[in-house]
């Protein structure tokens, strides 16, 4: 572990919070500018670890550890590894994009809106950096409230239902998580001597197999809701449809990643036996999600619902890949989290741009935009292709690794998972045709303005990243390889982990072998 003198991660989390306080204090006309400044500076701060991160070094870096509630073993413990390294700048960038796409879209309660976003950003960054379970939980919950408000206040017609569904679903899941955390702290006490919520200490624990199964189930439930894993996904389409554009961008781009992040961070290292036990069931659900999500995407008329179901499909593949627990699957899963954040975030930005122009997201009322808005159409097609997994773009890298991992696990798993290659093309090309091509079907006779400078500024870096990751993925995968190896080594139900059991077994064996000897004598 390396401890830097400069509390980079804390600063990263405090920056948006400070920005939100400033927005609150200043007049409404400053809200946008201040938020932009806060989001931009946070984004720059999230970039810093990319340069300073020491590739190849296992363990956490940029660690900060201060006591917080000492009596309960809670501390302000932050740190990142290859898993969180790229999720931080993704969050930083998509938050910046969210501020930019909200520039003209929000008319009422502007201050509250931007405050919500900045608090949300702090919460998201905190989740990815926290190494203390309670700290993690605080950020996890703190993030829900602004998202609840964003959907519930600035959403469209059916926003209350969607917001309530979103928060109840997630809170129900996270209550199980809290119970699990507390049990883990007691376990730490019984094994390590101190009541502690410190994740790095937990990782050294040996959770008894009897506890592992239900603890895994408690943890996994909370994370599976977030992924969302079939059949816990129905909150997502509703939340997306009702959320404002920026809300959807962050929801799909960052919030969904927390499910997979949590599984990798908590479930795998803490409960290896349970992980192995549940793997067939989880993989089945993931595979169902891949195919089911794709089929449902094909049946949607609302563009946002379509993208939401495509997320169910894509995230299902990620779950399948990481549960293979091999290098390719894990690297693929982590890379694809990033890619899905980029491409789905970009897709929602584009959908928002379409909605601002045509005032509809209904696929039966769109069409014919390619001829009128060529720049928008070009961005749309590239983003769609990134989602399809066209080689040369980022989506293929993740897909390739995930399928490789599945194939290494079992050839038939790879074959089943690879159906997503065909299914994705079916619904995404269909969507593109309905939106961009054919004749214009919208009753709106106007709304043919091509991308503005602001929109180009938002989309260009996203598209550039799609190309860069697609062409030079090794820069990414090399950095997260040590983390992937570490996850494999700690998640393998190997001899080191089963030490007490093997010791027991040895004694039994000795008894068995000595027994006859005694009786013989």
């Amino acid at each position: 572990m390396t401890t830097n003198d400069f509390p980079l991660l804390s600063v990263m989390i405090v920056l948006p919070l400070a920005g939100s306080a400033l927005v609150l204090l200043l007049a409404e006309r400053w809200a946008r500018t201040v938020s932009l400044a806060a989001a931009l500076s946070t984004f720059l701060a999230t970039l810093a670890p990319l340069y300073l991160f020491r590739t190849g070094q296992p363990g956490f870096q940029f660690v900060e550890h201060y006591p917080w509630v000492g009596a309960l073993g809670i501390s302000w413990h932050l740190g990142i590894d290859g898993l969180s390294l790229f999720l931080l700048p993704l969050t930083g960038f998509l938050s910046l994009a969210a501020v930019l796409v909200s520039w003209n879209a929000v008319g009422q309660k502007v201050k509250a809106y931007f405050v919500s976003f900045l608090v949300l950003e702090a919460g998201m960054l905190g989740v990815f950096a926290a190494l203390d379970a309670i700290l993690f939980y605080v950020f996890w919950e703190a993030m829900l409230i602004p998202m609840f408000l964003i959907i519930g206040i600035w959403g469209s017609e059916n926003r209350r239902y969607a917001a309530l569904k979103f928060i109840l679903y997630t809170v129900a899941g996270s209550l199980f998580l809290l119970v699990g955390f507390i049990v883990m702290a007691f376990l730490a006490q019984s094994q390590g001597g101190a009541f502690s919520f410190d994740l790095t200490r937990w990782m050294a624990l040996r959770v008894p197999a009897s506890h592992q199964y239900w603890l895994f189930a408690f943890f996994f439930l909370a994370f599976a809701v977030k992924v969302p894993l079939f059949p816990l996904h129905t909150w997502l389409p509703d939340a997306h449809v009702e959320a404002p554009t920026a809300g959807s961008v962050l929801l799909a781009g960052v919030l969904l990643k927390m499910g997979v992040y949590g599984i990798l961070r908590f479930c795998f290292p803490l409960f290896p036996e349970a992980t192995a036990f549940f793997t067939p069931a989880v993989m089945t659900l993931g595979l169902i999600g891949v195919i089911y999500g794709a089929l449902l995407a094909f049946a949607q008329e609302d563009l946002k619902r379509l993208v939401a179901y495509s997320s169910v499909s894509h995230m299902g593949l990620i779950v399948v890949g990481i549960f293979c627990l091999n290098l390719a699957g894990l690297k693929g899963g982590i890379v694809q989290m990033l890619n899905h954040g980029l491409s789905t975030g970009a897709l929602f930005i584009l959908v928002g741009a379409l909605y601002e122009r045509k005032k509809t997201r209904n696929l039966n009322r769109l069409g014919g935009l390619a001829g009128r808005t060529p720049v928008l159409a070009t961005f749309f097609v590239i983003t769609m292709l990134s989602s399809v997994g066209l080689p040369g773009l980022n989506g293929f890298v993740g897909e390739f690794l995930l399928l490789m991992g599945s194939f290494q696990f079992a050839w038939w798993l790879g074959a089943l998972a690879a159906t997503s290659v065909v299914l994705g093309a079916v619904y995404l090309l269909w969507m593109t045709q309905r939106v961009l091509f054919e004749k214009d079907r919208s009753p709106e006779r106007s709304g043919f303005a091509d991308f503005s400078l602001r929109e180009r500024i938002v989309m260009t870096p996203l598209v550039l990243l799609m190309f860069l990751i697609g062409l030079f993925p090794a820069a990414l995968t090399d950095r997260l390889e040590p983390t992937a190896r570490e996850i494999i080594s700690v998640s393998a139900p190997g001899p080191a982990r089963e030490a007490p059991q093997t010791a027991d077994a040895k004694i039994m064996m000795e008894e068995v072998t000595h027994g006859p000897q005694h009786s013989g004598r």
Binding site: L168, H233, T234, L295, F298, G368, P391, G392, L429, F437
Partner: protein, 624 residues
């Protein structure tokens, strides 16, 4: 130094696409065309220079390769972006850039005044780029990048007139059907990577030859999976359905992508992985049969079409089938040679068809042509030259390349196989005769066709000359050891020359040539008569295979999606979620009802509760 220059070949068309795409907004058509045509022209010049260089080297040293960067690693597997230019790739590069350059030139005139002029050339340049990546790649993954890239360009160009629903549908169909093939391709790559720990062609060949033993079944499985990809891209039965519809795109696109280059990628891929096929010869009959069925099936379909482009499309499917027949006989050089000659004469036929369609203001119906020779002499003569080559008339290029394939089929799979392949050749002559009727006989159109400009005639004339002469590298006849095969360095192991077999081969060739000539002459007479034979609807619809797919795949999939969306997701899963919500609400209401605020109610429940507790304790104590 020389090796490093390979990537320039790919960089030039990419640069053309970038310049036009990023800077070309607002440029005049001439500027855009200059960039696009110029970039491909420069690449062609570079390729010809490399070819000359290559020919000057001794036969064993003709492989240039360059590794650019490491793309991705997974454990011991390292995938690098690298190119290799050997004689096999050189053949493809030459076809791509030579035909590609002429078609770029032709397009500059053909697409004049189109609103999407710049978009067209960006896509066309991008296509050439991806096609070069495909053939120059030194490993399966980079080939796959080019493979999907050309598929993308094909999708974008088929749907070039994107306001037309039929064009969009056709583009989408092409992409999705190709993806079905690519599903196999991708699994093949994964399996090769897992089995051999590498995806590099050179390493794979070395491991197959000298490495640790790998079961023949695994090798065959990899080869078959990759062949599935080839079937998609090269429109082999039953994945051929996208190609006839692809004719919705502009005609030069059909010429370049759907005749001369992209659709041949499957043949190229099979030659690239020839070491697999040699190791697992059980796969060869599969390839041969798929090729033969496709060749025969598509030649019948071609006969039933009214649309001049659809005749050519089915003809392409059929001719690629012959290439696969050659590969299925283990005759790599013969397959590649037919690819070369077909690329030239079919490119020519499409370009000439485009000129005809232009001249007749968009008319594509063969029934409304006829007698064009007098109105459009240059176009007609070149078209007919292409037709003669296609039909395999002695001594044109198509004759030389097809003859080798038919004999190969006879030699390896016997007389019945030969008979079927020969039947396909006769069908080829038959539908070629139908196409002849557009130029001979009485005119069946109105108005005055406008003659094409020099930008269109020049490529036609060039290609026509090559269509006549391109058979030369395939000489000498009656041997697998042709000039072309020697250049390719892929000569099949020769059995000792057998005088009887040789005499039979010569006899069959003479028989074939005479029969084809007779059928062609008969067909021309038949189709130029006043009362032409009616077109069969069964053949026109390709034996109804589209409807079959619609019935078996598309509709069930759609119904399934709708069922899942309406019943499973909305009713069942979300119903359960909402039900849980309503249940807790109802529970809440019920318990709220208990809080009446009246003291006597509370008193009663207090006493009842106390009694219940006592009873419970007593019971439990008694039980213990």
């Amino acid at each position: 130094m020389l090796s490093e220059s390979i990537w320039i070949l790919t960089a030039l068309p990419a640069l053309g696409a970038l310049v036009n795409g990023l800077l070309g907004a607002g440029w005049r058509e001439k500027g855009i065309a200059a960039v696009a045509v110029g970039s491909v022209g420069l690449a062609l010049a570079a390729a010809l220079a490399l070819l000359a260089q290559m020919l000057s080297l001794p036969a064993g040293d003709r492989t240039l390769s360059v590794t650019l960067w490491r793309w991705l690693s997974d454990g011991a597997l390292h995938v690098r972006v690298g190119f290799v230019l050997d004689s096999l790739a050189m053949v493809m590069v030459t076809v791509i850039l030579f035909v590609g350059f002429l078609i770029h030139l032709y397009s500059a005139g053909y697409m004049k005044g189109e609103p999407g002029y710049r978009r067209y050339f960006v896509c066309l340049n991008l296509f050439v780029f991806f096609m070069l990546v495909l053939v120059l790649a030194d490993n399966l993954v980079v080939t796959f990048v080019g493979w999907e890239g050309v598929g993308l360009c094909s999708y974008l160009l088929i749907g070039f007139w994107h306001e037309k629903k039929s064009a969009c549908d056709a583009g989408r169909k092409a992409f999705v059907v190709n993806r079905i093939g690519d599903f196999g391709f991708l699994l093949g790559i994964l399996m090769a990577a897992v089995t051999f720990g590498t995806v590099n062609y050179g390493d794979l060949a070395r491991l197959l030859a000298t490495g640790p033993a790998v079961s023949e079944g695994a090798v065959a499985a990899i080869a078959l999976l990759l062949f599935m990809g080839a079937m998609g891209k090269s429109a082999q039965f039953p994945l051929h359905v996208w190609l006839p519809d692809a004719m919705e795109g502009p005609t030069p696109v059909s010429a370049l992508i759907h005749a001369a280059t992209m659709v041949n990628a499957g043949v190229y891929l099979m030659c690239r992985i020839a070491p697999f096929l040699e190791k697992a010869p059980a796969v060869l009959p599969v390839i041969a049969v798929v090729g033969l069925v496709t060749a025969l099936y598509a030649s019948f379909c071609a006969l039933g079409q009214r649309d001049i482009k659809r005749v050519l499309a089915y003809s392409t499917v059929s001719q690629i089938g012959y290439m696969f027949v050659a590969l299925g006989c283990g005759l790599w050089a013969a397959g590649m040679f037919h690819l070369l000659t077909h690329g030239i004469f079919k490119g020519l036929l499409f370009l000439a068809a485009g000129a005809v369609i232009h001249a007749l203001d968009g008319e594509q119906d063969l029934g409304r042509m006829g007698g064009l020779l007098r109105e459009l002499p240059a176009v007609s003569v070149t078209f007919m030259a292409g037709l003669l080559a296609l039909a395999g008339i002695f001594p044109l290029s198509g004759f030389v390349s097809k003859d080798a394939i038919l004999w190969g089929g006879f030699e390896r799979y016997g007389a019945l196989f030969w008979l079927a392949a020969f039947g396909g050749a006769l069908m080829t002559a038959l539908y070629s005769g139908k196409l002849f009727s557009a130029f001979l006989g009485r005119r069946r159109f109105e108005g005055h066709p406008h003659r094409p400009g020099p930008l269109i005639v020049m490529p036609l004339a060039t290609l026509a000359v090559f269509a006549l002469l391109a058979g030369i590298p395939g000489l000498p006849l009656f041997t697998a050891d042709t000039f072309f095969a020697r250049f390719l360095g892929m000569t099949a192991a020769q059995a000792a020359p057998d005088a009887a077999a040789h005499n039979l081969e010569v006899a069959l060739t003479v028989l074939q040539s005479l029969a084809v000539l007779a059928v062609l002459a008969g067909a021309i007479r038949l189709f130029t008569r006043e009362r032409r034979p009616a077109d069969s609807t069964v053949l026109a619809s390709g034996f109804g295979i589209d409807r079959l797919y619609d019935f078996l795949l598309v509709r069930p999939l759609k119904a399934c999606a709708r069922f899942f969306a309406i019943i499973i997701d909305a009713r069942l899963i979300d119903g359960a979620v909402n039900g849980l919500g309503s249940l807790s609400m109802a529970l809440g209401r019920f318990s709220a009802g208990l809080q009446t605020g009246q003291l006597r109610h509370y008193a009663v429940s207090l006493i009842a509760g106390a009694f219940a507790l006592i009873a419970l304790t007593v019971c439990l104590a008694g039980g213990l």
